[in-house]
């Protein structure tokens, strides 16, 4: 019998405030489960949870954030078979191909986990200013990031967009792939049972068409990833984001090749560089 799954908000698994659910089918049309159909109110609750979790997560040491992300990878490893089965069903690929996707996804989390304590050294600087001042620049997390997860790549794509948000010290509200949400739901169970504090990641199953406009116009969302947004909706989302000068990550119109090595683009996109000055003297 098909299960009915819930959302993941503030470290808990609530039903959609709207009470709605929708059927999730495999690539071959089989009914797999029912997922909660998140509403705009759920977006607001998720943003509030992400905001509440931001001081703790952004204030944690880089070492600690790295440890937590490594732990996520470890817990994912424990659910490898479940992820592979869900990815295979969702994406209609062989179980070998799905396993490869899962392994790549775990590696991706590990890769970003290793970045937490290197971002500052690589993106920051001591500035050799022309005067008797000590000046340095450090990257800091932007805040709450709204992520429209890729529609096609249900796990590798998802962690590729989520991990940099977390590694940089942000908290996130993720709208999962509408048609392929089950690996994301399992990921939320992984997050809940690893050491990620509640509210740091909030996963909403539902449609980008319904949820993205609310995320884009929300004044408490500091950055927005348009990866999984419908192309025809993007200009409108960007215009809504402009009302509060929200940072917008605009990937190409087709999904990136998630198997390619990620660069620093997403870490840069979700960080703000702070420059601090102090006089030098005796």
């Amino acid at each position: 019998m098909a299960k009915t799954y819930k959302l993941y908000v503030g470290g808990k698994f609530p039903r959609s405030e709207s009470g709605r659910v929708y059927p999730v089918h495999a690539a071959d049309g089989t009914l797999l489960a029912n997922a909660a159909l998140a509403s705009r109110k759920d977006v607001r609750d998720a943003v509030a949870a992400a905001r509440k979790a931001f001081p703790g997560w952004s204030g944690a040491t880089a070492y600690n954030r790295g440890q937590v992300l490594f732990r996520v990878a470890e817990v994912m490893e424990g659910r490898r078979a479940q992820f592979a089965a869900e990815v295979a069903a969702a994406e209609g690929i062989t179980s070998d191909a799905a396993s490869a996707q899962v392994d790549a996804a775990i590696d991706r989390v590990v890769w970003f986990a290793g970045w937490t304590d290197k971002i500052t050294g690589v993106l920051g600087a001591a500035n050799p200013v022309a005067g008797p001042y000590f000046s340095f620049s450090v990257p800091e997390p932007t805040g709450v990031v709204g992520v429209l997860a890729p529609q096609d790549s249900s796990l590798l794509g998802l962690v590729s967009v989520l991990a940099p948000v977390l590694a940089a010290g942000n908290t996130g509200v993720v709208v999962t792939s509408a048609q392929r949400p089950l690996p994301a739901i399992t990921l939320s169970e992984v997050l809940a049972t690893s050491d990620v504090p509640g509210g740091v990641v909030n996963l909403l199953t539902g449609t980008a068409e319904e949820l993205a406009p609310r995320l884009a116009s929300h004044a408490d969302v500091n950055a927005l990833d348009l990866t999984g947004a419908p192309p025809e909706l993007r200009p409108e989302l960007e215009r809504a984001a402009a009302d509060t000068v929200t940072r917008v990550l605009r990937p190409g119109r087709t999904e990136p090749d998630w198997t390619a090595a990620p660069g620093l683009e997403r870490l840069r996109a979700y960080t703000e560089l702070k420059t601090v000055w102090h006089p030098i003297g005796t």
């Binding site: 001042y133 960007e238 000068v245 601090v276």
Partner: protein, 477 residues
């Protein structure tokens, strides 16, 4: 004249080599624009300084086409080591004509000559020097071994630091291999047009730099031009949001340096005399017409009376008047419109119940001037505590604990800069960490350097200018 007064020490206006008419700079030549000419006003007198050609839509097309050609034919293919030499040459020319540019900037903008001379022009030259060195080292900037330029950049800059903001846009754009079309502010186009002469003198290939004077409509056309690949804007948050909306869906790269409402936090253990100097510099530098101006003074309650006493005494010594006088501390407000905006917000502050105190210095009878002003009994909800005034007006709030200081400082949609005054090192670093602002000055204020990235959090914009980080805005990464 008492013992303590200075005799006037005016700089000669003739040094500015002022012309009656200035023309647009497009494709390496000066040209008449098809727009209606504007009169640039001397804000210190209210009199017209010069007539300036403006760009019509067809001129925007011509300039963008020239920039595209230059990008494809000369500047784009040129090795970075060659581009570097042009930038070094431009930097030298700014230095060599520094006095002329400083006087012209003062005439056009109203800022005190000592600020134009000691800050604007040398820092503009420094930006070209710094970026000259980047042109052949982009592979080391951290964006991969061979980062590519974007193409044609559009720079739109404000009237508060006309030549310096030009340098902040043009130097990195050119260093990264882009060409640029720059729109200077309507009220301060003159030094940007003289910069065209510098480009000619430097032998810069035609079309690499184009300067289109005009009002907001010219900027809007430039932003919306289909053949522009990148937009860099410095100015108001309202216009920045409009530009972000315009570019929605186009995929063009955008960086914004917008407004601010910086808090200058004075703790009870701060060196108060130095703090007063910093607070004065923070809000009265360039008549307070600075996006990162320290317009909110947050002072710990226990030292508030002492600090405010010292502050008022110091403000009484500020000399307001002829910007060309080397003794002048506070010059003219840039335009009648800006003066009206400042006046309106100050009236709102009084109406909302804040207590106003203004320096008793006499103001010149002509021109646009405003007395250095400080408001006490300010509440966070008041307009003068929330809105950017962009004038010599300081709002004072008090706090009791460090946490309260930080929460008040961060209680703004802006996040450009902040100041911290305390002798305690650990507190400085803590406060610097807690403040949500792109620049934090501790025991100093208003320091700028081409090696130090500058830019905002939240509604103060995105992207950085200066340093390695600043190159990202002009590279396809």
């Amino acid at each position: 004249m008492s013992f303590w007064e200075y005799a006037p020490a005016p700089e000669s206006a003739s040094v500015a080599n002022l012309h009656d008419r200035y023309r647009m700079f497009v494709d390496g030549e000066f040209a008449d624009g098809s727009g209606a000419p504007l009169k640039s006003i001397n804000p210190a007198t209210g009199e017209p300084l010069a007539e300036v050609a403006t760009a019509a839509e067809s001129d925007v097309d011509t300039a963008v086409r020239a920039a595209r050609n230059a990008f494809e034919r000369t500047w784009g293919p040129m090795p970075g080591s060659e581009r570097a030499k042009y930038l070094f040459r431009i930097a030298r020319l700014i230095q060599e004509r520094g006095r002329e540019l400083a006087v012209l900037e003062t005439l056009d903008n109203g800022k005190p000559i000592k600020e134009a001379r000691d800050t604007d022009i040398p820092t503009a030259a420094a930006h070209f020097f710094h970026h000259a060195g980047w042109a052949d080292k982009l592979g080391y900037a951290g964006y991969g071994p061979d980062p590519r330029p974007l193409g044609v950049a559009a720079g739109i800059i404000p009237w508060n630091f006309p030549l310096l903001m030009l340098a902040w846009k043009i130097a990195p754009a050119l260093a990264c291999g882009n060409t640029i079309v720059l729109k200077p502010a309507e009220t301060t186009p003159l030094t940007a047009l003289v910069f065209g002469e510098l480009c000619q003198e430097a032998g810069l290939p035609p079309g690499v730099v184009n300067v289109l004077p005009g009002a907001g409509d010219v900027g809007a056309r430039l932003v919306a031009h289909p053949d522009v690949d990148k937009v860099a804007f410095t100015g108001s948050t309202a216009v920045g949001k409009e530009i972000q909306r315009t570019l929605a869906g186009t995929g063009k790269k955008l960086t914004l340096e917008l407004g601010g409402k910086a808090a200058n936090i004075v703790f009870d253990d701060a060196p108060l005399d130095q703090a007063v100097e910093g607070v004065v510099n923070g809000i009265f530098f360039n008549q307070g017409q600075v996006c990162c101006a320290g317009s909110r003074l947050l002072v710990q309650e226990s030292v508030a009376d002492e600090l405010l006493g010292k502050l008022r005494a110091r403000m009484e010594t500020l000399r307001v008047g002829d910007p060309l006088d080397k003794n002048t501390d506070v010059g003219a407000i840039n335009s009648a419109e800006q003066l009206a905006r400042i006046t309106e917000l100050v009236e709102a502050g009084e109406a909302e119940g804040a207590s106003r105190w203004s320096s008793s210095c006499p103001l010149p009878e002509r021109g646009f001037f405003f007395s250095p002003t400080v408001f006490g009994e300010v509440q966070q909800s008041m307009r003068i505590a929330r809105e950017e005034i962009f004038g010599p007006v300081l709002s004072v709030l008090t706090f009791r604990t460090p946490d309260e200081a930080i929460s008040k400082a961060n209680n703004t949609p802006y996040g450009l800069s902040a100041g911290v005054w305390t002798e305690k090192g650990s507190r400085i670093l803590w406060a610097a960490q807690q403040l949500r602002a792109g620049v934090v000055w501790a025991n100093t204020f208003n320091r700028f350097d081409p090696t130090a990235p500058f830019g905002g959090y939240q509604e103060s914009g995105f992207g950085r200018e200066g340093g390695r980080a600043g190159l990202e805005a002009y590279l396809d990464v």
